[in-house]
Amino acid sequence: MKFLRNYLNKIKPNFEEGGKLHAFRSLFDGFETFLFVPDDTSKSGVNIHDAIDSKRIMSLVVISLLPALLVGMYNIGLQNALAAGTADTTGWFDMFVFGLLVTLPKIVVSYVVGLGIEFTVAQWKNEEIHEGFLVSGILIPMIVPVGCPLWILALATAFAVIFAKEVFGGTGMNIVNVALIARAFIFFAYPSVISGDGVWVATESILGFGSDVTVDGYTCATALQHVANGVEITGASGAQLSVMDMLFGFMPGSIGETSVVAIAIGAVILLWTGVASWKTMFSVFVGGIAMCFLFQYALPENVVAQVPFWQHLILGGFCFGAVFMATDPVTSARTEVGKYIYGFGIGAMAILIRVLNPGYPEGMMLAILLMNVVAPFIDYCVVQTNISARAKRLTKKN
């Protein structure tokens, strides 16, 4: 640590005004503050600073995402082995390495494209680098299927960073979740690589790891698609999925979304460190469950509505969205009462889309994006209600 600090101090003058590497100052600044808490203090007035800054918060979110990512990697290998019929002969480590090899290029592409744009903008506007992409960069590969081509991922990342974030003023100013915009872009622009039944299981071996699926035109739909089609929920091998498979995430789906257990570990980290709001998270589940019960009685004919509520919650991206997407402090409601309304809306809308729109088996992404847009209005209403209540109290007293 000491060595690193000394080294940074040594090369720092190169990046300051007049130094020969001045053009890369934002790059240096970004790395320095990523590695060490900046020791700058306020020059005037009295300011109270929290010891934690947004880089530290972002790092915590990334740490809480790791369990889901690691299980997701293992799951990619497992699904590939199941599809190829080699699950009994493949060790768990081989499966994990295969998943790692599939996922790593996606993570690299997402970070290179996203951070590249961030660095360029910071350099161009003569600002410091915003750290917001640290989380988006890991979220984007986690919410796409294995079969998503890298160039589409790069395009979607670029679109999301420019049109959902930079045009609004950068990190902390975006009105909708950047990672979800990347997913929505793929969803509407290239529906064939993010929906249907051909993209959820990796079918080619990489560097000797994994197996080639020999069946021509191998297809495997996600659990929610099976639900929407009204057929039994089966996995990559064609066998029925058990509740344990669904909980641990051993089923086809987007890379990071499948494992409820891993997401729960992330949720505990987020709640324990106070980064995410339990109110939002809790009310997403309440909203989802309420809507499930409502539809169960209101629509006895609809197959999706008749799925038990707990299955709705553990299938698809419901948990992932509730824990990592809905709680994004920038795009969610900020008032405490507003968080309940906002979360409830997400849960309810997600189930509503799943049940009533046959074209979209999953509704979590669209529900969160919709409520992101509504969040400022919710806050406005909550604040106004409070103001008028206090005004009334004042006039009553006098």
Binding site: P149, F188, A189, Y190, P191, S192
Partner: protein
Amino acid sequence: MALFSKKNKESLVTPLLKENPVTIQVLGICSALAVTSKLEPAVVMGLSVTIIIAMANVIISLIRNTIPMRIRIIVQLVVVAALVTLVSEVLKAFAYDVSVQLSVYIGLIITNCILMGRLEAFAMQNKPWPSFLDGIGNGVGYAMILVIVAFFRELFGSGTLFNYPIVEKLRLYECGYLNNGLMLMTPAAFILIACIVWYQRAKDKTLQEK
């Protein structure tokens, strides 16, 4: 008076960039979103609007001193409606396919704010020749944006240009290239127009608000 005096030239040229009806005055957005998924209808639409604005400007300018102020909007509407009907019939007769693609949007030129705006703001106060130039300028300014948007939407959305399968001929599909379905949806036109506005304002500092 010279045909292309400085003032006349200005009324022809300013609507192209500095006073562009779409990107600066933000008029005619509805049709700019609706007809730009392919180049062909966009070009036809741009041409139709240009012809109609120019002719309506000239007609209104010719009779501007005889129009009673209280019913001028009705007179303008009648003139525009007559011209739109003419254009629509001509299209149906000679370019039926395109007129089907454009469907109601040719008829809706009557409600295009650019037209009423030019008639009210220019033709009512100016002589026929400057009014004609102003109409051409505004029509071309509108058509220009339509064609730019349609170019990108057709190229990336359908992989064609004027229905020529350019992407297929370049063998890009074999490398895994896919058409961008978002480009065929209306939001893409919004984003593209926004990009044009963005570019224009970044280039021309006088357009930026303080």
